[in-house]
Subunit: 351 residues, 2 copies
Amino acid sequence: MDPACAMAKSEMVRKPATLKDVAALANVSRATAARALNSYGYVGDETAQKVQAAAEKLGYRGNRLAQALRSGQLPIVGCILGDIQNPFFARIAHDIEVLARECGHNLVIGSSEEELGQEISLLASLQSLSIRGFIVAPTSADNNAHLKGLIAENVPLVLIDRVAEGIDCDSVVVDNEGGARKAVEYLIGMGHRRIGLLQDDMRIFTSRERMSGYRAALAAGGIAPDDRMVAVSQSTVEHAVDATIRLFSQKNPPTALFTVDSLMTQGALLAFRSMGISIPHDVSLIGFDDFNLATFTDPQITVVAQPVAEIGRAAARLLFDRLSGQGGQPQKFRFETKMIVRGSVSRRRDA
Amino acid sequence: MDPACAMAKSEMVRKPATLKDVAALANVSRATAARALNSYGYVGDETAQKVQAAAEKLGYRGNRLAQALRSGQLPIVGCILGDIQNPFFARIAHDIEVLARECGHNLVIGSSEEELGQEISLLASLQSLSIRGFIVAPTSADNNAHLKGLIAENVPLVLIDRVAEGIDCDSVVVDNEGGARKAVEYLIGMGHRRIGLLQDDMRIFTSRERMSGYRAALAAGGIAPDDRMVAVSQSTVEHAVDATIRLFSQKNPPTALFTVDSLMTQGALLAFRSMGISIPHDVSLIGFDDFNLATFTDPQITVVAQPVAEIGRAAARLLFDRLSGQGGQPQKFRFETKMIVRGSVSRRRDA
DNA sequence: AGACTGTGTGAGATCGATCTCACATATATT
DNA sequence: AATATATGTGAGATCGATCTCACACAGTCT
C-alpha cells in the first residue's frame, strides 16, 4: 500500500560506510584500518592494501563529526558579517571562503543584520559546534562580552572592518578616519562650507571613525560643526533615501554631502534624482567605499576607496596562521584608503 | 621565562563545561542531568532545579558535535552557489540564511565558481559533516553523479536556479525560456532583426534555456539564426566587456543585444561606453535579471526581472519541509519572470 | 640461550550527549 | 497484605574515529 515501504528493502537509505565496515571487510581491527588509512604507526604492506581496497569499495569517507568530537575541533571557520548583500561584505566573504577551502576548511556564514542580539546568538550557536575560529565584523564597538568570552576560551578570533574596545586580537580595518578626513578636506578645498554627513548608527565602529574624520576636517577648516548637517540612517538604500530627503528638505541644505558607505551613496543618488537635485551642479557628493555603480552614473561618483580585495584575504590569512599554531602578539592591520576623484564634486564660488 | 607558561596555571584555556561537569556539580548522574535539561522522562522538581542552576553557573551550552554524532545529524544546511558576489546569489544566500536561522540551523556556504570539480569536492567535504540537507545551483546540467549520490543516501536536496538531468528532487527555477523569449520578441516587435545574444557557458542550465528562448523568438519572428550574432562569455563583468567588444567590432554588428545575466549586462554597458556606442540610439539593450544599477544609468535599462526575493525563501522552505519529515513527490517550482520596460530599447525603422 | 630492538596487530578507552534498561521508591488498587 | 502503577534515578551502551597500551612475533646482539 505504501510505496515507501515497498522500497524499504531494496533501495532504503544507504548509510555511509564507517571505519568499522571497512575493517570488517578487510578482516582487520578498527585500529589497524585507521592506521592504514591515515598512515601512521606500523602497518604491514599487504594489510594496508587490503584496507585501502576495502575503503575504496565501500566508498569510505570518514565522519568528520566523529573526528571532530575526538580532536575537539571541526575544520570549519565561522564568519559573521553585517549583511552579505552589501557588495563590500560579499567580496570579503568570497575571499575568505576561497582561502578557507585552500586550507581544507569550510565556511559557516551568518548575518548579524547589525543587531547585537543576533550576533551574540549566532556566535553562541557556532561556538557550540567546536568551530575552529571566527572572523567577525562586530556590530557594536562597546558591547562585546561575547567576544571576550571567545578569547577566554582561546578560540582564534579576527575582527574585520571594525575593532571593538578592550578586545585584544588580530584585526583588519582601514583608515576610516583618515579616509573620511581626506574626503571632507577635499570638499572644503573645493569651497564648500555647508557639508552634510549621511552616517550609519554610531554603535558601529566604522561609523564612529568616519564621523570623527569628518569632524576633524571641519575643525581644521575652521568650520563649526552643525547638527543640522548630519543625518543618521541604517545602511540600506531605502533608509538612506529617506534620510537624504530629510537632510535636503531644510531651509539651508548642505552644498555637499559625504556618505559613509556605498549603499548610502546609492540611496543619496536616488533621493537627489527624485528631488530633482542635480549632481554636481546643485550639490556635490562623495562617498566612502567604491562600488560598481559609481562609474555608471553621469557624472561618475567620486569616492574614497578601500582595498577591498585585500581585506578578506588578510583576515583569513591571520586566522589560519593562528590555527596553524602561530603565537605571538595580536597583529593589527590598518589599510590605507585612496580617494578616486571622478565627477561628482564641483567647485563652489559663493558660500 | 616564557610568559605563556606563567599564564598556564591561572588563565589557561577555559574549556567549555560538559554535561558531566553539570551533573557532578548538581550531584546527579549524567542521565538525570540530561533529562532535566532537555525535559523528557521523569525528573523530580527539586533535582531539575539543581541541575538548571548548575548549568547556569557553569555556562553550559551542550556540544552540538556530540549531539550530532549521536543523532546522526548536524543542524546545518549547506548551500553551494556559483558566486556570492553575484547579487542574485547574494540575495538568495541571505534569504536562506535567515530562514535557516529561524529553523535553528546554521548555513555553510560554498562557491563552486562554476567549476564542476569544485562543486564535487565541496559537496563531498560537506557530506562528510553529516549535514542535514543541501541547496545547490548545479554547475552542469548533465554531469551530476555526485547529486545522484546525495539522493541515494537520502540527503534532502533542493536545486535552485538550475535543474539537472535525471535528478528528481525539489527545485526552484524561473521560466528562463519564456523570459528570454519575451525579451527577444519585444526587440523584434520594436523592429530589430539583427539581435545579438551575450550568453554564458552552455553547460549551465539557465544559459541553455535562455538561449533556447532566444532561438524560439527568432524562429517565431521568421529570423534565421546567425552564429555571428552570438557571443559566449563567463559570467563576470570583465569577460562580458571583452565579449561585447568582439561582438560589436564586426562589419554588421547587431542593432540590439540581449544579455543573459546582470553581470553581463553591466559588462555590455561598460563596453558600449568605451566604444562610444550610445544606448538606445546606436544599439538597444535588454538584460535578463534586474539589478540596482539598472535604474541609475541614463537611459535606465530594460530587463526581464526574476522574483529574486521569493527564490531563496522558496528553496529554503522546501528544504526544511523535507527535513521536518514531509515526504511525497518532489515539488518543482517554476516562477514567472516579468519584463520591466525602461529606456534602453528603441524602435528601429530601417532594418 | 637470554636480552634486546623493530614490526605488526587488536582490545579497550576516549571525546560528549543521549537513550535504554534495570532498579529503586512511593502511591494506588484489589 | 499483595499486587499493580506511577515516579525518579543511575549504570552502561551507543554514535564513529582515534590513540594508548599490551601483546605477539621476527630478527639481532652478546
